[in-house]
Subunit: 212 residues, 2 copies
DNA sequence: AACTAAATACCCTAAAAACGGTATTGTAAA
DNA sequence: TTTACAATACCGTTTTTAGGGTATTTAGTT
């Protein structure tokens, strides 16, 4: 793997043994200009808000603010900062929270050092290394989520058109004009859509059919 | 990694060079009882429907039926069969189709042999190895909730929360209850959101902030 | 100390959406 | 041919949203 240079890399980890070992391994094997180590999320947030790192590796459990909340805040300010999570927690909730917060990599601490170094390189090259146990959880959640789009198929052609118009933010009156029907026809179609989808508002209908 | 025994492993690949090389590598390094090689999806489907494998590795592009359709059919009959995809395609659509069909692993053919062998072991142990480039696409699709949208950033923290609630399909009354404020407060926030975003309906607001 | 933005809350009105029933026409399937 | 459904349309009523104005409190900034 070609080792691209990394400008600034940050480690946020309260266990000094871990952070020191990581820092040592990283500086030995990876070409990093600046290597920052923070012992808590607050310090990291303060510094990285001002001067973002290219890559930041977070522990989840930290004294005070946890790593995930810290990622969330930092990603708002610096969306291009690549945040990795390195933790002992493999609970699905924690994983999804981290990914939702903007983490691009999720590794378990049981991962051998060589793999972690490899993962840093992969992140630097636009990859998204995830422990395979974690990946399974993500995929399982993903497949469940994607299946719901069958609802759209159950609607009639005209109903699908109506829903598309709704997704574009038009009002009943506007839809009626665009599709050359009366406003009551639009009403009826949408009522039937809600009935079929078992919802009672536009946003719910759009959610259920995958528009949202 | 402890090498658990694999009873039946199948390779579905039309390029004989690839399949022979894979078979050789696998039989050299992994403890497999039966190693089956199929040159097309039809043959694999016929045999594996009757006698499923523990793990099956599919190429996507095959003469006749493609690997993904084959996985889909097989997973209906044998849900516990672990299907891996090994392909040159990293198009998001192909990846999602494969995962939706029930594939539990998605690797690029550029992956070195050692990694592929490792991946087989991981699948055998309940993991879900995915090339890190692929993982990024999955994660990005999974976290469509990218709040890096400029308009979204212009809103205050509370306004962002309100918008999130709207995106979940809640009514003002429900939002008020959930966030422990009066319905009038919700109204005011949403009025201010519309003002800032220059829109005049929920769906427009959700579109503009990237929720839709 | 004055200013500002954010969060809270109340008032009112008009427009839009949701929910209900019913009916006609055409077309396609049983 | 009867049934079923899709698409059209009209009649209601109630609830929800959108819009406007105004005001208080708190926290942060100048």
């Amino acid at each position: 793997m070609p080792s691209l240079k990394i400008q600034r890399l940050a480690i946020i980890e309260d266990d000094k043994q871990v952070s020191e070992y990581l820092a040592e391994q990283i500086s030995m094997h990876i070409d990093v200009n600046e290597l920052l180590v923070f012992e808590n999320a607050e310090d990291a947030l303060k510094e990285l808000s001002q001067h973002p790192a290219d890559i930041a590796m977070f522990d989840v459990q930290l004294p005070g603010m946890n790593g995930i909340d810290c990622i969330q805040r930092l990603k708002i300010i610096h969306p291009r900062m690549q945040c990795m999570v390195l933790t002992v927690y493999d609970k699905p909730d924690t994983v999804f929270e981290a990914l939702k917060a903007g983490a691009i990599s999720y590794l378990l601490k049981s991962t051998p050092a060589a793999k972690i170094l490899e993962a840093i390189q992969e992140v630097n090259q636009g990859g998204s290394p995830i422990s395979s146990q974690i990946a399974r959880k993500v995929i399982e959640a993903f497949t469940v989520k994607e299946k719901t789009n069958d609802y759209f198929q159950e609607l009639s052609r005209r109903e699908q058109e109506m829903l598309e118009q709704l997704s574009m933010g038009y009002r009943y009156k506007e839809i009626a004009e665009k599709l050359f029907v009366s406003i009551d026809t639009v009403r009826t179609h949408i009522r039937n859509i809600y009935e079929k989808l078992q919802v009672n508002s536009r946003v719910e209908a759009l959610k259920k059919t995958g528009f949202l």
